[in-house]
Structure formats: structure tokens, C-alpha cells
């Protein structure tokens, strides 16, 4: 068990190195010259050259890459061109908001997706199944920014139940988390349904029914325990989808997380911030995958490798 975890950990480090190679190359392909961005338009040629030297941008690329990775290892992501502060500090101040939003989104996802999936699986081919599956498909086909703007219009503007965006109370969190939760819940309900359909066909479910257990107990105790397993792994694998959702939803609702920061950085071609958020997101995805790998054998004995 431990050796598997260690092996996965090693692979994760390699993947992380690969990610840094991509972000490093991407920042070189960016059309904006970082030296010009720092020096400003009116800087003289001599100033530009001295800044270039100071940043080490006159060295050969492999040397620069090694320096880049060393800096990353010291949690130094460089300075934002626009705000002149350390990107690490910026991310540190904004990450909690994104994590809070993510927690809210997972809450709604589970609240919507799992009951809907169970209901659809037990009613297979009947009225509720058809409607739940149709609605879940509509949910996953709806772009998150449209869903967010519609919820904002309806519940914040027309009914006035929630604030028109911003950060602070649970009321501010409700709509952005619901937006992410609805689209995620759509996928979850489909997955829970197909996994529960498989489980409910098993012999042990028939045995449970035959020995006279109530349908509720059969489905929730014997069925759900196995039917839920793919979802547990899914939550870990979903970090990447959340990060993409965070960029969109945070900019719709003015939620001050790293997604909104990334969006603002895109508008201003603030490369260190874009690359910083990308790296943080990649680390999040890698940790999510790792957690899924580590947790799954504990909840699912079938996945314990000898």
C-alpha cells in the first residue's frame, strides 16, 4: 500500500515538472515582452537592458528554466506586472475564497446529483427517470456563465433574495455555489444513475429483497454503498473542472478568488499571474488525483491491490 502511494507521489512530481516546462514555454511565447511590461513605455534602452539583465532574461533558455524551477521550489512565482506584488502573496490572499466556493459547489453537487441519480435508477424507464435525465442533460449543456447570469437576474435582481455579487455572508456564496453545483450535479446524477442501475441488477440486491428488506433499505443501505463509489473518486478528479468553473463563475459574480484574478490578468496580459494561477490549478488537480488514488482502496476493497 505504502509503496503504491510513494510510486504515485513520484509520478506526481514528474508530472508537476512537466507542467512547469509547459508554463515556462508558454510565457516565452507570449507576445508581450516582460521587460517592457515592467519598465513601461517611456523607458530608455539602457534601462530596458539593465532590467533584462537583472531578471536574468539574457541567459540561455535551459539556464533560465533551471532558475525558474528553483524559484518555484522556493514558492516564488515572480511579481505581477500590474500590481507589483508577489504573485504568491496575491494567490495566498485569494485562494481561501476559491476554496470556500469549491466547498459550496461540492455541497450542492452532492445534494442535487446523488438523490436525483438514485431516484432515476430506481424508476428506470419511467416518468421520473426520463425527466431527471432530460433535466440533467439540459444542466450539463448550459454554459456556466449563462446559468450564473440567469440566476443572478432572477433571484438577485427580480426577487431580490440575494446580493448582486460580491463576498462576505452565506448569501453571497449561495448563487455562485449553486451555479457550479447545478452543472456538476447534472454529471453526478447521470453517473450515480448508471452506477446504481448496475448495482441494482446484482444478485445480492435480489437476495436482500428476497429476505424481505424494505425497498428503501435495500436501495439506500445495500445499493448505495456500492453505487456511490465512482462518485467518491470523481470528486477528487473534478478539481480541474472546478478551476475552469471558478474562472467563469467568479468573474460573473465578482467573487474575489483566484479565478477572478486569472480573468483580470488575462485582460491585462499579466503573464506571471496567469502562469501562477495555472500552476496552482495544476497542483490542485494533481493533489485531487492523488487523493482519489489513496482514498479509493479504503472505501472500495476491490481496489486494494496485493
Amino acid at each position: 500500500m505504502l509503496s503504491i502511494i510513494l510510486k504515485r507521489l513520484g509520478q506526481s512530481v514528474l508530472i508537476l515538472l512537466g507542467v512547469t516546462l509547459i508554463t515556462f514555454s508558454l510565457s516565452f511565447m507570449m507576445p508581450a515582452d516582460p521587460v517592457r511590461m515592467i519598465a513601461g513605455r517611456s523607458a530608455t534602452k539602457a534601462t530596458v537592458e539593465s532590467i533584462r539583465k537583472e531578471l536574468g532574461l539574457d541567459k540561455p533558455l535551459p539556464v533560465q528554466y533551471i532558475k525558474y524551477v528553483t524559484r518555484l521550489a522556493h514558492l516564488d512565482l515572480g511579481r505581477s506586472y500590474k500590481q507589483k506584488t508577489q504573485v504568491t502573496e496575491l494567490i495566498k490572499s485569494r485562494l481561501p475564497a476559491t476554496l470556500l466556493l469549491m466547498a459550496g459547489a461540492i455541497f450542492f453537487e452532492i445534494l442535487i446529483g446523488i438523490p436525483a441519480g438514485i431516484l432515476a435508477a430506481t424508476q428506470r424507464g419511467k416518468f421520473w427517470d426520463n425527466w431527471i435525465m432530460a433535466i440533467s442533460f439540459a444542466g450539463v449543456s448550459m454554459p456556466q456563465f449563462v446559468l450564473g447570469l440567469l440566476l443572478l437576474y432572477l433571484f438577485a435582481y427580480v426577487f431580490g433574495w440575494f446580493p448582486l455579487g460580491g463576498y462576505g455572508t452565506w448569501k453571497h456564496l449561495f448563487l455562485p455555489a449553486l451555479t457550479l453545483g447545478i452543472s456538476g450535479g447534472g454529471w453526478y446524477s447521470r453517473m450515480v444513475r448508471s452506477s446504481m442501475v448496475d448495482v441494482l441488477c446484482q444478485d445480492y440486491i435480489r437476495t436482500a429483497r428476497a429476505k424481505g428488506l424494505s425497498e428503501l433499505k435495500t436501495v439506500l443501505v445495500h445499493g448505495l454503498r456500492n453505487g456511490i463509489l465512482p462518485i467518491i473518486a470523481m470528486i477528487g478528479l473534478d478539481v480541474g473542472i472546478f478551476m475552469a468553473g471558478a474562472v467563469v463563475v467568479e468573474s460573473v459574480f465578482g467573487w474575489p478568488g483566484i479565478g477572478q484574478m486569472a480573468w483580470q490578468a488575462i485582460q491585462m496580459v499579466d503573464i506571471p499571474v496567469i502562469m501562477g494561477v495555472t500552476l496552482v490549478a495544476a497542483i490542485g488537480i494533481i493533489i485531487g488525483n492523488l487523493l482519489a488514488d489513496i482514498v479509493m482502496p479504503f472505501v472500495d476493497p476491490k481496489m486494494r491491490v496485493e
Binding site: L14, V19, P31, L149, I266
Partner: protein, 300 residues
């Protein structure tokens, strides 16, 4: 039996199987509705000038109120006008072109790259396979939307650049699915048998492996368009998609976002269009998957 004859019988078997698939597919009413809506979207994109009397870029003087605000839906401008006094319905019809071209082109390229790499990795295995699959692992760890945004910021996005950018991030899933299927086939007994009677590798690949992969490619090809339509809309909404004045559904929402509490139709109608197109491809793809999966055909 000559190669040609053998191919003909293989084709015949495929067609006979396709008969069942089509029959099963046609039973799914939602999928038929999706197919109909895809046809309607494609047709209106194709004959856009016939459907609408206006040009997408014309700014109408009477398209704005006296205070300069966009007009709500009325008898002249069916779905209202946008902030510049342009007809929203016309822009939506022309925007369908953008969505469909990018959806089909981007997904086509992604499908080609993904299927190619997946087949090569699954068939060759060894170090070639390892390198390709480790690269897809790396791409999986990379947040797709952020990568697309970074790429779109590097290359000033035109229609085809956006399609390429989306293809660059969307091939990964397909490659993994095709890889595991190819590997399962390549290590199966019948391929062992074919190889032992001396079949060449192109023959094994094209005659004995590829036919089994078509269902997967077809299903992913359809479902992938739904994802691509959403990604294109999202990129445009974030301001890194197709450049104005080219009408794009996500772009229309991006342009009118600051005004949407007063003019909700500018978000509602393009949003509905994005959802309808994406939903249609999802419905058709899902029905195809069920129809092509013999395990599911009996059960559901």
C-alpha cells in the same frame, strides 16, 4: 479470399449491424429531436442571408431608443437589438456559423489527433506508447480552460486559431479512451492469430482493429462537439474567443454583460442558443452510445 472480397464481407457485416443501431437510435425520441434541432441550426447557418433581411454588422439608427438603450423584442427586430443597435436575431443566425464551424473543425482536429495518438500508443506500446501516454497524463493535469486562455492570448484569435486552440486541449480524453481500447484489441487472441498467419501491421491495424474503434470515434465525435460549443462560448465570454465584429454567441453575452440587468434578452437568447445546440449534440451522442453498445441495447 482476396483482400477486397474480405473487406466487402466485413463491410456487409458492419451494415447489417448498422441496421440494428439505426433502428434502436430511431426509437429514441429525444435523440430525434436533437437531430432535428442540429439540422435546423445547420440549415439556418448555411442560408443565413435568406432567413434574415438584415446584415449582422448593420447598426440601425432606429435600433436604439432615444436614450441610446437597446430595444426589447418587437415586430421589426424579432429578438430585440444589442448595445450598438444591431439586430440580435440576425447576429444569432450568423453566430450559428461561428459555433458550428468551430464545433466541427475543432472537434474534428481533436478527434484526429486523439485517435491517431491513441492508436499508435495502444498498438506500438513499448517506449513510444509510454511517451505518448505520459504526455496525455501531463495534459490531464493541465487545467484545460487556462491552457486555452493562455494559448488564445498568445495567438491573436481568429476563427481558425480558436478552433486549433480548442483542439489542442480537447484531444486528451479521446486519446486515452482509444488507447485503452486499442491496447485491449492488440493484445487479444484473434489479433495474435492474425499476426501468426503473417498479416502485415497496416493490415492488422486497418482491417482488424480500426473497425472496432469506429463506434467509439463516432460517439466521441458527437459528444465532443457539445463540449466544444460550450468551450468556444466560454472563451468568447471571457474575451479571448473569436474577435468582433464576427458574431459569436458567447461574444454577444460578453459585449452586453454590463447591461444585462436592463436588457436581459441580450443574455437570454444567445444563452438559449448555446444550450440548445450543445444539448442537441449531447442527446444524439448519448443515444448513439446506447445504440452502439450491445450490452445496453437489451437492458434500457
Amino acid at each position: 479470399m482476396g483482400i477486397q472480397e474480405e473487406l466487402n464481407t466485413a463491410n456487409f457485416k458492419v451494415f447489417k449491424k448498422m441496421g440494428y443501431v439505426v433502428k434502436y437510435f430511431l426509437k429514441n425520441k429525444l435523440a430525434l429531436a436533437g437531430l432535428a434541432s442540429i439540422l435546423i441550426f445547420s440549415l439556418s447557418a448555411l442560408i443565413a442571408p435568406v432567413i434574415t433581411p438584415f446584415e449582422p454588422d448593420t447598426q440601425f439608427f432606429e435600433g436604439l431608443s432615444l436614450e441610446g438603450a437597446p430595444l426589447p423584442p418587437n415586430s421589426k427586430f424579432w429578438l430585440g437589438t444589442d448595445l450598438l443597435g444591431r439586430d440580435l436575431f440576425t447576429r444569432l443566425v450568423y453566430g450559428a456559423r461561428t459555433s458550428l464551424i468551430i464545433g466541427i473543425a475543432a472537434n474534428g482536429i481533436a478527434l484526429f489527433i486523439g485517435a491517431f495518438l491513441g492508436i499508435v500508443a495502444g498498438y506500438a506500446r513499448g517506449w513510444v506508447g509510454t511517451v505518448i501516454m505520459r504526455f496525455t497524463d501531463l495534459m490531464m493535469a493541465f487545467p484545460a480552460l487556462l491552457l486555452a486562455i493562455a494559448l488564445a492570448a498568445i495567438f491573436q484569435p481568429s476563427l481558425w486559431i480558436v478552433a486549433l486552440v480548442i483542439a489542442c486541449v480537447n484531444w486528451v480524453q479521446i486519446a486515452r479512451v482509444i488507447y485503452s481500447q486499442t491496447m485491449a484489441l492488440a493484445t487479444s487472441e484473434y489479433i495474435e492469430a492474425v499476426r501468426s498467419i503473417g498479416a502485415s501491421w497496416p493490415r492488422i491495424l486497418f482491417v482488424h482493429i480500426l473497425p472496432h474503434l469506429w463506434p467509439t470515434i463516432l460517439v466521441w465525435g458527437t459528444l465532443g462537439i457539445a463540449t466544444t460549443v460550450l468551450l468556444e462560448a466560454t472563451l468568447s465570454f471571457l474575451g479571448v474567443g473569436v474577435r468582433p465584429p464576427t458574431p459569436s454567441w458567447g461574444g454577444i453575452i460578453y459585449e452586453s454583460q454590463s447591461y444585462f440587468l436592463d436588457a436581459p434578452w441580450l443574455v437570454f437568447f444567445p444563452g438559449l442558443a448555446i444550450m440548445a445546440l450543445s444539448l442537441s449534440f449531447n442527446l444524439v451522442g448519448d443515444a448513439l452510445r446506447d445504440a452502439l453498445d450491445p450490452m445496453k441495447r437489451g437492458r434500457n
